[in-house]
Amino acid sequence: MPSRVTPILLVVPLTLYMLAFYALPVASMLLRSIADPSWTVENYLRLAHDSVFLAVSWNTLRTALVVTLGTLLLGYPVALALSRLRHGAAAVVLAIVLLPFWTSVLVRSYAWMVLLGRRGLINELLLSAGLIDSPLRLLNTPLAVHVAMIHILLPYMILPIASVLRQIDRALLRAAAGLGASPRRVFSQVVLPLSVPGVVAGILLVFVLSLGFYITPALVGGPRDLMLSMLIAQQVDLLNWPYAACLSVALLAMTLLLILVLQRLPAVRAVLRAATQ
């Protein structure tokens, strides 16, 4: 059996690597928010009255909320269908869900630029159908950000829900049906309650990822619909490190708070444990 010393030795190289090239750099950057040049919390006090910060935070939260709702509405039925399909068909659906999942966010954002542009597919279709006279402004709007982000994050909602639905004991469904429940009732009283852990896990994933989105809103969003991550990048370009660090702490705090709250739910814990094992 391996001694107690060996496991530690195996972990040391990666731990040192992560400390040197990731944790310490991020920590030292975040420290600029309270140590510039002397210790102060003034930056944080200023945030409370900073109208730009408040507006951008609100926009970030609202976007995350809309995207989470959108992925839930589109994703749940797909997950449900996935759990009911026979083996071959399920594999095809799963491939359609996974391919975009593996395709780079940049490529998928570009696809939406192509679709929503002034001379994009959607405008061309509407024009040739005679529904509009001049191209609609679709790109560089909040709508474009929402649609593209829902598209990009949809697999993150489908996969945890599908994995929970697949584990539901078929005997329960047969029993409910055998006792006279209509298909609708079997769904609302058996399947839906049992799928809640997957739904909560999906919501957690999509919401947390949405909060930090950068590439997609920068490409398909308008100059005025800033997300927190875009504001942070802007401040770094202006070399305003204390403010950028302060905003980073705020974004990180929102993310961690959300995870801590949702992680306390026992249902989520079970799914996360299953996912990490």
């Binding site: 996974l98 780079s104 298909p183 991550s229």
Partner: protein, 263 residues
Amino acid sequence: MIGRSVFAVYWLMALVFLAFPIVIVAALSFSSASYLTFPPPAFGVRWYRAFLGSREWLDSTWLSIAVAGSVVVVATSLGTLAALGLRHLTGAVRAAIGALILSPLIVPGIVVAIGIYYVFAAYRLVGTALGLVLAHTCLAVPFVVTSVSVSLAGLDRRLEQAALSLGATPSATFRQITLPLILPGILVGALFAFVTSFDELIVTLFLSGSGAVTLPRRMWDDLRFAIDPTIAAVSTLMIVLSAVLLLGAHVLRQRQATAQHKV
């Protein structure tokens, strides 16, 4: 019955929504037009030729492959070692190290990016391939550790114990029993590491400067000026690469499942 067909139409439309943008980009990359237009007047490989004929695009492609390849080597070796160690650790040490290693999955990309940029700039690592490899490895490592850990969790410990009790040295046990059984997990981790680095853009935007322009960075720069169909061709190649790697990971996972069941 009506309810069932409404449901079928609904989820099929959601699937179309998922696949449609990717299909359109692929179709468009074969357009013969000099700008993006619908429907394409004719089809051809003009934009693939433009890609293959451009020094800049090719340089970026090679740089991306070289960086991702290096990341695979560093992340897979460090990550596999750590996963092997982590499974014997318990309590607070395991929790703390696990949190450190997995946190890049949760911490917003922009925070990681500017943190690394903040320090790397001081060491003149901005604009170098080395800087990109060092940074991308941090982002790729969580996938390797997770994938190898999953393999190790499915491994029957009695096989290792049997080998040891029959007189095999720990290193022989590792080479002849453990390693072959977790190899698919290591390779899946390596695939993930490759994709993570190859597609990475947020950290790259800050670190690549003018000296280390990767493929996603060049696409980003071009997108800001014009939606050139060359990008559609590059995107399609990236989608094909994703599909191939996805298939590879799938095959490896299946092999892992059968290997661990057989023994």
